[in-house]
């Protein structure tokens, strides 16, 4: 049986990749995908603990996260399309209209 730590380390690595993606990528779609990556890293942790502790709560939480992630993806993509139609660009660095 694979020990719990392996799952946790994998999850942390995936989460970190997601964070770095959000921080440094210049494309909104990739940033959105990085957010998905972070969510799924968390899901992995939930499942791992669920299995390890023999309890179902973690799996229930994963369903919630998946539902929220789906909704988030829909709205996020809609916003991205709207932004793209407006500016013909998806670079977040160019979106600073609310700055002083």
């Amino acid at each position: 049986m694979v020990p719990l730590n392996y799952y946790l380390i994998l999850s942390a690595v995936v989460f970190a990749i997601g964070v770095i993606g959000v921080l440094i990528r210049r494309n909104l779609i990739v940033i959105l995908m990085s957010i998905e990556l972070m969510l799924n890293a968390v899901n992995l942790t939930f499942i791992a603990f669920s299995r390890f502790l023999g309890s179902m709560e973690g799996q229930v939480a994963v369903f919630f996260v998946m539902a929220v992630a789906a909704a988030e993806a829909v709205i996020g993509l809609a916003i991205i399309i709207a932004v793209f139609r407006h500016r013909q660009s998806l670079d977040p660095q160019e979106m600073h209209l609310l700055k002083w």
Partner: protein
Amino acid sequence: MVASEPGLAAYDLLRWIPLIPLLGSVINLFWGRALGRKNAGAVACAAVGASFAIAFYVFWQLPATGVFRDLVYTWIESGAFKANLAFQVDALTAVMLLIVTGIGFLIHLYSLGYMGHDEDVVRFFVYLNLFIFFMLVLVMGDNLLLFFVGWEGVGLCSYLLIGFWYQDANNAIAGNKAFIVNRIGDFGFVVGIFLLVTELGRQGVWTLDFAELQNHVQMLNPATIGLITLLLFVGATGKSAQIPLFVWLPDAMAGPTPVSALIHAATMVTAGVYMTARLHFLFSLAPATMALIAWIGAATAIFAATIALTQNDIKKVLAYSTVSQLGYMFLAVGMGAFSAAIFHVFTHAFFKACLFLGSGSVIHALGGEQDMRKMGGLKRYMPKTYWTYVIATLAIAGIPFTAGFFSKDLILWQTFSHGAMALWAIGLVTAGLTAFYMFRQLFLVFHGDCRADAHAKAHLHESPAVMTWPLIVLAIGAIFTGWLGAPEYLWGSRWDLWLQPVLGTAEAHQGSLSTEILVTLLTLAVVAVGIYLAYAKYGKAAVEFDRGTGGLLYRLSLNKFYVDELYDFIFVRPFTACARFFAQFIDPWAIDGSVNGIAATVRGLGWIWRGLQTGNVQHYVAGFLIGTLALLAYYIGQL
């Protein structure tokens, strides 16, 4: 309408007594110019006349020991504290009510003639009606708060009317002086009210109702009462022109003469006396304050009388005389003789209003001349003014069977029978001085050769009937009003009986009737000496005025003992110097500096922090990440 139970009758008519003059004031304020000068004056007179009629009716209905109340609405209700907009009339209020509306009405009539030629007569009547309104609020208010509204309101009207001819800067300055000096007194008065309400509130009684105060006054300890009455009396020294705050009243003569008669002789300046009588239950529990009041009153009486001896302005003499007579009233208050004090308020209102209106008649005839050295011999030209003036002069000097004789003798007798010999002696001398300066004035103005210049002489005329009739009525009052309070060796006092339910029977006559008669005769002797000296000096046909460089005492008196200069040196100059210092240094550097400094600091900090607001979402996420990591590190470190 009148409940049989004494003390608690409701009477809806009361509110109209002050409201009608207010209405008159408002009508003239908005439509006075449209109505025209004549009609505006008629409206003002009618308003006060109606008010007088109602007041007289109420007085007539008032049962001997009863109180009428009229609750208009609850004004302030805050926790346990409650103050009503409510009017009350008891025996004491009724007296003041008749003085204010009755003499007020006569003076309004007189003003029709006196102010008839003035451009701004409409504004004059607006102020005058407003004054009557506030004065009525003052005397009719059933609680100290409403009383204070009237108190401040009459102060405002006094200020407005003193500076009525504001085109002359001196008049405006005199108005300012009156206002500022009164504010000093009112500061003490307000603090006194605060102290009264909080000290009673600490005992669980949150009220300023006069009746409630009287019921609960025993809860206060004597030291507190002493302090409260002292502070209230500070207010009275301002309003009623006592030492040390009397300096505004002589300057207040800058206002039109009817104003001097109404506000600065008959009504407003007696508000301080009314206040002490209204709160007599408080004052009689403070023997130290009472002693102080008596001494201040006596000192003011003789001090002002000595100044009046040498003044050459016809109105200044009367002004100092008023200050002196107010001193008598406070002497009576200090002796606990509230009834006698109010009696003197009553009689004084008649003869002093008569004197002021008489002097106004003279000034009117001479085309604005107020210097008595340029008068003389006016007896022939203005007989009605002359004879009324004679009667009022006799009254103020205290010639037997005139009003002043009864009231002044009552005060002197109360002082004597109280055993306060020093105060009595001061009062006695003041009576002589009063006789002297009043007869000096009478001789200078009406007797001897006419010293007016040819131009003024050509225009000399008796005043119109609308001015002489008030004089005649007041002169009649200056004789007969005193008869209400005759001493026991004549036909006894109805006055004391009338005021007894309100003021109590605290005034015990000690000493026999023969002593009283003896004291009266002594007073009369002093008065006779005063009159004789005045006659010897000023009764001749040609009076010499070479005393301007006379002795030290003469110059002291002529220059009002340099009190104004003294105050100027002690208070006004340091104050203005202080103000200049603050204006030049503190204001630009400390005040502006701190305000501008705060603004500059905020702007500088904002300039620094706004660098963080890049508008780039990823930078914010980075900040979020750093924060999360820092928190994480912190909690891991805690483990």
